[in-house]
Amino acid sequence: MLCDKCKKNNATFHSTVNINGNVTETHLCENCAKENKLFSFNNFLSPSFDSFDLLNDFEELTCDNCGYTLSDFQESGLLGCSNCYNVFKEIINDNLQKIQPGNVHVGKKLNLEENLTEKEKEIKKLELQLKQAVNEENYELAGELKKQIIALKEGQNNE
């Protein structure tokens, strides 16, 4: 069976829509089906940009961390960096209300700070500095940092 739309390729997508007894059958090839967005939920998943009607009320907002503008967000549907969430807060909140069931994260927390003691935080900080020092081949500093880490860990074990 040939595609209803292009009349060239074989139809591989078949759909039947029944509205109050009026049955409409559509037979499309893969390319035309993609164009017709059959089986595609991109539209549903993409952020709704109705909120950008509000654009006129705003100056062109720009993220001070990454230089991303509101127009960039509008065009791509993507943000430029984590700081953009602060800069475009109002627009994002408006968007989130439409696409998410809630506006507050209730899931897993980033287990960095709250699960660590002060000493563990200090060790972690030094370990990151150590990694950096090794990457930069600054072995003198790395040796010093390693000593500090060992001392802190020993202190921790003796507590």
């Binding site: 998943l45 968007n95 506006n103 899931g107």
Partner: protein, 331 residues
């Protein structure tokens, strides 16, 4: 029966580094810094195999894509992207995809909870050495606001010929979308539904916990499973002879053809798979049909033949290979 309908379960978490531009807004040097930090952290937590995409041949990348270890977007970013893959191929951590990190775990059958536990443990370890972008109110910050919060997508791959053949697909899709579930083709966003394979996954990521999202996808998959079983029964009750004829014709073509394309072979193998599932055809090893479906793409055929074949040569090789596997498989 559930095992034949629910093919696999996959969970992915989206994560980004604080103070680094997201991948869509980065430059080569910054992206490489992300990749270096990622590989340093990953090499310490597990025995992952680490690959920079630019060092991999395109055939290798395509094969990883077919095996769902990486995404098309990771390939598009191949000058700056990389992937860490566990030795058993169940866990892959993509770096510099749409988000800096796409951590995923894929297991056979309906196994979302276990997949989530595995990836969450790895995520916890990574979060100790990497500074993830996180906000007290919004949770994990992602390039696209559709992923913010948990950064979680839980998806189940399902084989749904009964629902398609009884024209119930659109009703099913509109019903589950009201529950916050979306249905897509086998290869995610924008992909077509080949061989009756569909991905069922959550639409939202914020305002519900990871456990609630996993539970929602799992319970919806089970409901769809029930619907598929009912649809298959309906087909058997009303159209058994026609359906059996179609299954056996498909088997006949696959066993005897001289050349065959990937799409035709996939379509026919899917009919035989359905036939085997509902006892319209008896096969010694029904699993061989699933293996064939996975192994007949152009990339896999080239690999099997140990040559780089042109399209016509691949179609000939594919027909010969399928015929050889199916020979003597029917009882």
């Amino acid at each position: 029966m559930n095992n034949n309908i629910i093919v696999s379960s996959r969970v992915r978490l989206a994560r980004n580094l604080k103070n680094q531009p997201f991948t869509n807004n980065t430059d080569f040097d910054k992206a490489n810094n992300v990749l270096t930090s990622a590989f340093n952290a990953l090499s310490e937590i597990s025995n992952f195999n680490l690959y920079k995409c630019k060092n991999l041949k395109s055939e290798m990348l395509e094969e990883m894509l077919e095996d769902h270890l990486i995404s098309g977007e990771l390939i598009n970013n191949s000058d700056i992207s990389g992937v860490a893959i566990s030795p058993d191929n169940t866990v892959s951590i993509m770096v510099n995809e749409e988000d800096h990190f796409r951590e995923q775990c894929m297991l056979d059958g309906l196994n979302l909870k276990r997949a989530y536990d595995i990836i969450s443990d790895i995520d916890n370890e990574l979060s100790l050495s990497l500074d993830f972008a996180y906000d007290e109110k919004l949770g994990f910050l992602t390039a696209c606001p559709t992923n913010v919060g948990t950064g979680l997508r839980a998806s189940v791959m399902m084989f749904l010929p009964g629902i398609v053949l009884t024209n119930n697909l659109e009703d099913m899709i509109s019903t589950v979308s009201k529950l916050g579930i979306c249905v897509r083709g086998a290869y995610g966003e924008g992909s077509s539904a080949s061989g009756y394979m569909f991905q069922i996954s959550n639409q939202f990521s914020l305002g519900k916990s990871e456990e609630e999202i996993v539970q929602l996808v799992e319970s919806t998959a089970l409901k769809i499973c029930d619907l598929e079983i009912k649809a298959r029964k309906l087909l058997l009750d009303n159209n058994k002879d026609a359906l059996k004829d179609e299954v056996l014709r498909a088997y006949g073509i696959l066993s005897n053809c001289y050349k065959i394309s990937t799409s035709e072979a996939t379509e026919l193998l899917s009919k035989v798979k359905l036939g085997a599932d509902i006892d319209l055809i008896n096969l010694k090893e029904p699993q061989l049909i699933d293996d064939l479906i996975k192994n007949i793409s152009p990339i896999k055929i080239n690999k099997l033949s140990n040559k780089v074949l042109n399209e016509n040569e691949r179609d000939l090789f594919r027909a010969e290979y399928i015929g050889r596997v199916l020979k003597n498989n029917r009882i």
